[in-house]
């Protein structure tokens, strides 16, 4: 069993540098097998004089998804377009965690511009799932999920636009938290779909996620969509437990497309919660089935606009030997972007174009409201919603790359949460055919603390989150 954040902070306090060195050596030993990192960094040499306030996470190693810009450290977003991009500033998430004392050990691999559910769209090659190296880790935060699962870092950041933290967390057997939209600043997080993107955490446990969320959440004047409300003490809130909580089971998720064995494990996990004092009931969300189609209008629309900035002039890839400006734009973009990114830009351009805007884009926004209203209505009768995070455990590399729609449907249970803006997490809930699966918990707006407390209670009664993939066992520093 790998030690949690609390224990690691203790070791880091008593033996400065030891914790970061331990994880750095594990990255050296195991990353070749997983391809979880795009850039690996050496921990900084120990400071001559210790800082007056070393920070609440002093000495805690961390990896950032390569979508967060890091000052003077290459940031690629998994794309050829940004292969040589060295940002001049830190994302707010990076800055806050550095201020809290975290030690950055590297930038993790990801689907290109966070568009993908298997990590196979990365320009830097796919990440492999530590539970089975022939399978995908999920995506888009697949590098962060694999790195935490294999014990290469204790915690890592991720981003979640349609399930990109929770789906890889489920497929790699780790805890993945997507906070409420606006809870964490998006400043310096390379934009994909701005009304859906949210930064979050991949960690071993809900407790570890609470430690990191407390340090990275909060209002940021540089992100006009960050919520101006106080950050609760998520670590203290863990003690609130699960007793008496009303949990609504998302029955729609069990109807179609769900691997029956995954369904059985999720029912088992829900029975554990009931035994711990939660009260279960059934919930149906009439419009949830429309969340994937709504998402595949709205996310591409926002992406086609956000990615217009890549023009080969100010930063990013530039085509060589071009004689006119229009061709420079077109060639630079065509060479710099991969197939999935181009596909989404084209879909987005189509649904926003004259004559189709009302039928696709506005209709998807209307459906988005219906989906959010379904969730808000359900959450007025229960404290949390629960179901499976994914329809199946990890699939094989290459299994779904031929058909984009099959890949999109992998996020069928997670996407509605992003459309609604709600917080959600995935926690390890057992194994199917030797592969981990995740239990999905969804909370009300800004109710991360309640969700984490319920997850912590579940993890106190189960050991799924403590298991390491064979070959990646670790004793800790």
């Amino acid at each position: 069993m790998k030690p949690g954040v609390h224990a690691l902070l203790e070791v880091a306090r008593n033996h400065p540098g030891r914790v970061a060195r331990y994880y750095r050596e594990r990255i050296d030993a195991f990353n070749d097998r997983l391809n979880a990192f795009i850039t690996v960094l050496d921990p900084p040499p120990r400071a001559e004089a210790p800082k007056a306030d070393p920070g609440v996470l002093a000495g805690l190693p961390i990896a950032h998804k390569d979508i967060f810009v890091t000052r003077d450290v290459r940031t690629t977003c998994g794309s050829r377009m940004l292969e040589g991009f060295v940002p001049p500033y830190d994302a707010t998430v990076v800055e806050r965690l550095a201020d809290a004392g975290c030690v950055l050990l590297g930038k993790t691999n990801m689907d290109e511009f966070a568009m993908g559910s298997s990590n196979e769209t990365s320009y830097f090659g796919p990440v492999r799932n530590p539970w089975d190296l022939e399978r995908v880790p999920g995506g888009s935060s697949g590098g962060s999920a694999a790195a935490v699962a294999a014990g290469l870092v204790p915690v890592a950041t991720g981003t979640d636009t349609g399930g990109s933290i929770r789906q890889p967390a489920a497929l790699c057997g780790v805890t993945g938290l997507k906070p409420t939209y606006g809870r964490v600043s998006r400043y310096g997080m390379i934009a994909f779909a701005s009304s859906l993107d949210q930064a979050g955490i991949l960690a071993r446990s809900a407790e570890d996620a609470a430690w990191v969320l407390r340090a990275m959440a909060g209002h940021d004047g540089r992100d006009s969509t960050s919520a101006d409300r106080p950050v609760p003490d998520y670590v203290a809130q863990l003690a609130e437990g699960i007793r008496g909580l009303r949990i609504g089971i998302l029955e729609d998720c069990f109807d179609t497309g769900l691997d029956p064995e995954v369904g059985a494990r999720i029912r088992d996990a829900l029975r554990v919660m009931e035994r711990l004092g939660a009260r279960l009931c059934e919930i149906r969300l009439p419009h949830l089935a429309l969340s994937v189609p709504a998402y595949y209008v709205l996310a591409p629309a926002e992406c086609s606009s956000n990615l217009a900035r890549y023009d080969g002039v100010r930063f990013g890839h530039r085509a060589e030997g071009v004689q006119d400006l229009a061709t420079l734009y077109r060639r630079s973009r065509s060479e710099g972007f991969g197939t999935e990114v181009k596909r989404r830009i084209l879909i987005g351009t189509y649904v926003l174009s004259h004559g189709y805007y009302d039928a696709y884009y506005l209709q998807a926004q209307r459906v988005r409201r219906l989906i959010r209203e379904d969730f808000i209505q359900a959450l007025s009768t229960v404290d949390l919603l629960a179901g499976p995070t994914t329809p199946t455990p990890a699939f094989r590399l290459g299994e779904k790359t031929e058909d984009p729609l099959t890949m999109y449907l992998n996020d069928i249970y997670t996407i509605g949460v992003n459309l609604a803006g709600l917080p959600a997490l995935s926690i390890p809930a057992g194994f199917v055919r030797g592969l981990p699966i995740g239990l999905h918990l969804i909370g009300g707006d800004f109710n991360e603390g309640l969700m984490l407390a319920a997850a912590q209670a579940f993890q106190g009664a189960t050991e799924w989150h403590t298991l390491a993939p064979p070959g990646f066992e670790a004793s800790g520093p």
Binding site: R314, R318, D324, L325, R333, Q363, R366, R369, L405
Partner: protein
Amino acid sequence: MTFSPSELDKLAALACLDISREERERLGGELARILDFVRQLENGATDEVEPLTHPLELSQPLRADVVAEPVDRERYQRDAPRTESGYYLVPRVIE
């Protein structure tokens, strides 16, 4: 639905992307299938429903008009593929 080669070219031009001849056939089919799939949205009863543009429905905050950070052009331009004397270089646009 289907995409003719000329419709696909028009879309690619709007998106500032080149589509190779080999890509064209596959991409046309894929885009058509994705758009057919999202047509399910018509099943939503949305007559009286206002579009939701954003989950939080925030208003844009204003901040005081004061200098927040210096503009370090030299540093920013280190990421630019081609610059000269503080300018970004592009192919000639005026004959």
